[in-house]
């Protein structure tokens, strides 16, 4: 372990606006930059979602064109998964929190960190610019399955739009990989004195495992994207078999198979779910501990569960392909291992609930969202059983059940993690508090619209409504299911309105929020031992050492009901 004292004096706070706020190497500035970039992308992705909902509520009005609709669902998914949740949760909070939590003055590689952010910026621009090119934005789904994504003749969005999509994804992967390397190195090598692995806050564990998963799985997507680019522009046939006919003419490709892409994509795609969900759970643990005034139930158990989830997540990707024609024995294998993931997940979920036991709960906005997150894990996790069991997935595959399910897991859990984290760490970011009243309004508007909205989608899936359907009235069998569309759309509008409250609160509080001191929540982890906002280098004095568990909540001899992790043992 490199003693963090090795960093002492290495940095000097930069002067000048550009070096301080734009091309900064300070992990906190970079974290906030990522966060704000994600906010912008979230605005775009939300507008796309609203257009989707408008079309579905009133399909007879054909509010959007059919080829635009497929672009909308593609880009909404892509932006939300990779450019909103990944950026805000993993890149944003990861950067901001890791050095503060492990007791380091900055990331292991500050320059690489800055580079990772400035690589994602052109990625965002390319993604958004793809709406402007001929044929419009990519339209082959966020999964970008070939041949649809490989051939411009197949759908208008597979023209320049899909190329820009692939290039932007390449930039995203490059950025995410740089970030991941930094996380792993920082967590493994830059911990302060006394910060043993089993004294790490759980959120740091989740960032570590998330980064490792990302590093292991993203290369598969990189390969998949490069091969797809070659198929599109260099005439290769990695994914394209012989005998494809467009406009009565046979394409010259031969020898490839679209299934190769599906395997490569899901080899990343499935772990990616945990790359995003685990840090949200980690934030849940931090916030619940601080607001229930109890150590999280089962620290070791949670760490081991996270590790088991990580291992399982790498060997279950095939459950996205049960109906692709895979060998039925392989389907059975993937089914058996997939449903096992519910085991460590239920342990984590129960640990979160049990952390409340005998606590003294304070329901601030951060805590409200953390508890909402616990509920969402329950719904999302249990919903996974229907899709992980091959026999029932036969019915649910590509239905709204899937849409509802993943909006609870990589949608709600992650967003609630982001919200809980924002309300909780905002004082450390800006030295001010967010408005508590607006926070509560935000929470109640969100949960009363979001939960019914995505639950109704589960019913729609049960009724057989298929996803990515521009106008579901084409079919008669789904009449009951599609009857819910108008309600869902109205709920979506409510949900969107609720988020405006958050944005107002966020930007108002940055400049006009109530000023706070070092430790407004009376929490225990190391970031609360420095001033708010934390200065360049994180601590003006010597970096604190870890002398105990990160969660000594509850009265322990002293007058207060918590003991800082940096407090020396008597």
């Amino acid at each position: 372990m490199i003693e963090s004292s090795g960093h002492e004096g290495g940095h000097e706070a930069p002067r000048g606006f550009l070096r301080r706020y734009v091309f900064s190497t300070d992990h906190k500035v970079i974290g906030i930059q990522y966060f704000l970039t994600a906010v912008v992308m979230a605005l775009v992705a939300t507008v796309l979602a609203m257009l989707i909902r408008v079309q579905l509520a009133w399909p007879e009005k054909a509010v959007v064109a059919p080829e635009t609709y497929v672009s909308l669902v593609t880009m909404h998914g892509t932006l939300m998964v990779f450019f909103v949740v990944s950026l805000a949760l993993v890149s944003g909070f990861g950067n901001f929190l890791i050095p503060l939590h492990v007791g380091a003055r900055d990331m292991a590689y500050p320059f690489l960190n800055m580079l990772s952010f400035w690589v994602i910026v052109p990625g965002c621009v390319l993604m958004l610019a793809s709406f402007l090119v001929e044929g419009g934005a990519a339209a082959a789904g966020w999964t970008a399955y070939p041949p649809l994504s490989a051939l411009g003749k197949a759908v208008p969005g597979s023209g320049l739009g899909q190329t820009l999509w692939l290039l932007a994804m390449a930039l995203f992967i490059a950025s995410f990989t740089m970030g991941g390397l930094n996380y792993v190195t920082t967590i493994v090598n830059c911990r302060t004195r006394g910060m043993s692995m089993m004294r790490l806050p759980l959120v740091v564990w989740t960032f570590l495992i998330s980064a490792v998963l990302g590093l292991l799985s993203f290369p598969a997507l990189t390969a998949a994207a490069i091969l797809l680019l070659l198929d599109r522009h260099a005439g290769t046939s990695f994914y394209l078999p012989a005998g494809l006919v467009f406009g009565n003419e046979t394409l010259p490709h031969q020898g490839g198979t679209p299934l190769l892409f599906q395997h490569l994509f899901w080899f990343l795609g499935h772990p990616e779910v945990y790359v995003l969900v685990l840090p949200a759970l980690g934030i849940g643990f931090e916030v619940i501990a601080a607001f229930a005034r109890r150590p999280p139930f089962g620290y070791r158990l949670s760490v081991y569960s996270i590790l088991v989830i990580a291992v399982l997540s790498m060997i279950v990707w095939g459950h996205h392909m049960f109906v692709s024609g895979m060998n039925p024995y392989l389907g059975k294998y993937f089914s058996i291992v997939t449903v096992l993931i519910t085991v460590p997940f239920s342990v984590l979920g129960l640990n979160l609930i049990a952390s409340l036991w005998r606590g003294r709960i304070r329901l601030d906005a951060a805590m409200l969202f953390a508890l909402g997150l616990v509920s969402a894990i329950g719904i999302g996790g249990l919903g996974g059983l229907y899709l992980g069991t091959a026999t029932s997935d036969l019915y649910f595959h590509d239905s709204y059940f899937v849409v509802g399910h993943f909006h609870f897991t990589i949608g709600t859990v992650t967003f609630f993690g982001i919200y809980a984290g924002t309300y909780y760490w905002f004082p450390k970011m800006f030295g001010r508090r967010m408005d508590e009243g607006l926070g509560r309004v935000h929470f109640w508007l969100t949960v009363t619209s979001l939960f019914p909205m995505f639950l109704l989608m589960h019913y729609q899936g049960l009724g057989g409504l298929l996803r990515r359907t521009y106008d579901p009235t084409v079919y008669a069998y789904n009449a009951a299911a599609r009857g819910l569309n108008l309600s869902i759309t109205l709920l979506a509008f409510g949900l969107g309105a609720g988020q405006i409250v958050f944005l107002v609160n966020l930007f108002r509080s940055m400049f006009a929020g109530e000023r706070t001191g070092e430790n407004p929540w009376q929490a225990t982890t190391l970031e609360w031992t420095t001033e708010s906002p934390a200065p360049h280098g994180n601590w003006r004095r010597e970096v604190p050492s870890a002398h105990r568990s990160p969660y000594e909540y509850g009265r322990n001899g002293g007058a207060e009901d918590f003991v800082l992790q940096s407090a020396e043992k008597a």
Binding site: P66, V70, A139, A140, Y145, P147, L148, V155, A242, G243, L244, N248, T257, P258, L259, R293, P295, F297, R300, L301, V323, S324, G325, P328, G331, K332, S335, V339, T342, S346, V347, L350, L356, R360, I361, L363, S375, G378, L382, L385, T389, T391, S392, L394, Y395, D398, R440, L455, L456, Y459, T469, Y470, D471, A476, Y477, Y553, G554, R555, N556, V563
Partner: protein
């Protein structure tokens, strides 16, 4: 300081969790969302779904009840002591969810779901009717082998959307009587059916919700699926895999009729090159 009543926000949140869980469970239990089931293996699929509904329903209700209870009970103030748990307590607590979830989930996969899975992907029953379904943007083309009972040769180079949609080879004697229909699938009631699946362009997925059938069609691969329709009636064929701007319009008609009527209907169909 412990107070007698929790603050209103805690009561509200606890009530929210209880109402949410109750309404969700009610929505699943009180309304039969599933379309009628019209195939032999269908009830097996439905049984698996119902089993998981019950298992997850119990876990979901109990979990939310405990969550709501804890929120309500432990919002009353007081000052808890710092009491870390011993590893032993942790592990013994973990045993419960580990055992319960492992058993519940694997029973669903192996015991309840297994037989239906084997029925769909197992040996083809004797006497099965073999038909071919070709997916293309954005139509279903259905081919019957015609009177000779054999599928004629096809080639991609011969495909012409108007004049030869599945690419039948005129030179093959077996091809001339092959029956090709656009978007209409006729099936005999009670007889096992094997469907050969081909795609001419992109991914499609052959889905008939009432028959609980869904099978992707991957270009370059000859896919197959099998089932036995057991309930005469008119159903819908849907494409379940995004295939382009007209994906939502890639629908078809499925007619399941008693075997004699089906045979009569089939005899009346002229071959594509007749």
């Amino acid at each position: 300081m412990e107070t007698a009543r929790p603050p209103a926000s805690a009561s509200a949140l606890a009530a929210f969790f209880v109402v949410l869980a109750a309404l969700t469970a009610l929505g699943f239990a009180a309304i039969s969302w599933l379309p009628v089931v019209a195939s032999e293996h269908g009830p097996g699929v439905d049984r698996t779904i119902v089993y998981i509904l019950v298992v997850t329903g119990v876990l979901f209700l109990v979990g939310h009840a405990v969550l709501a209870g804890f929120v309500w009970r432990y919002s009353r103030g007081g000052t808890p002591e710092y009491r870390p748990l011993s590893p032993k307590v942790e592990w013994s607590w973990a045993l419960l969810p580990v055992l319960a979830l492992t058993v519940a989930s694997e029973v669903g996969v192996l015991v309840i779901g297994g037989p239906a899975w084997s029925q769909i992907y197992g040996e083809t029953p004797a006497g099965a009717l073999e038909i071919e379904v070709v997916g293309k943007q954005f139509e279903w083309l259905v081919r019957y082998p015609g009177k000779d009972g054999r599928f004629g040769r096809t080639a991609a180079e011969l495909v012409h959307d108007v004049r030869n949609p599945v690419g039948l080879d005129k030179k093959d004697p077996a091809a001339s009587d092959d029956v090709v229909l656009r978007g209409a699938l006729h099936l005999p009631e009670g007889r096992p059916v094997v469907v050969r699946l081909r795609s001419l362009d992109v991914l499609h997925s052959f889905a008939i919700p009432e028959l609980r059938v869904k099978q992707d069609i991957v270009p370059g691969h000859l896919g197959r699926t099998q089932f036995r329709p057991v309930r005469a009636g008119s159903y819908e064929l849907a494409c379940a895999e995004l295939c382009g701007l007209g994906h939502y319009r890639m629908s078809g008609k499925v007619v399941v009729e008693p075997a004699p009527e089906f045979e009569r209907w089939l005899r009346e169909q002229a071959g594509w090159f007749e």
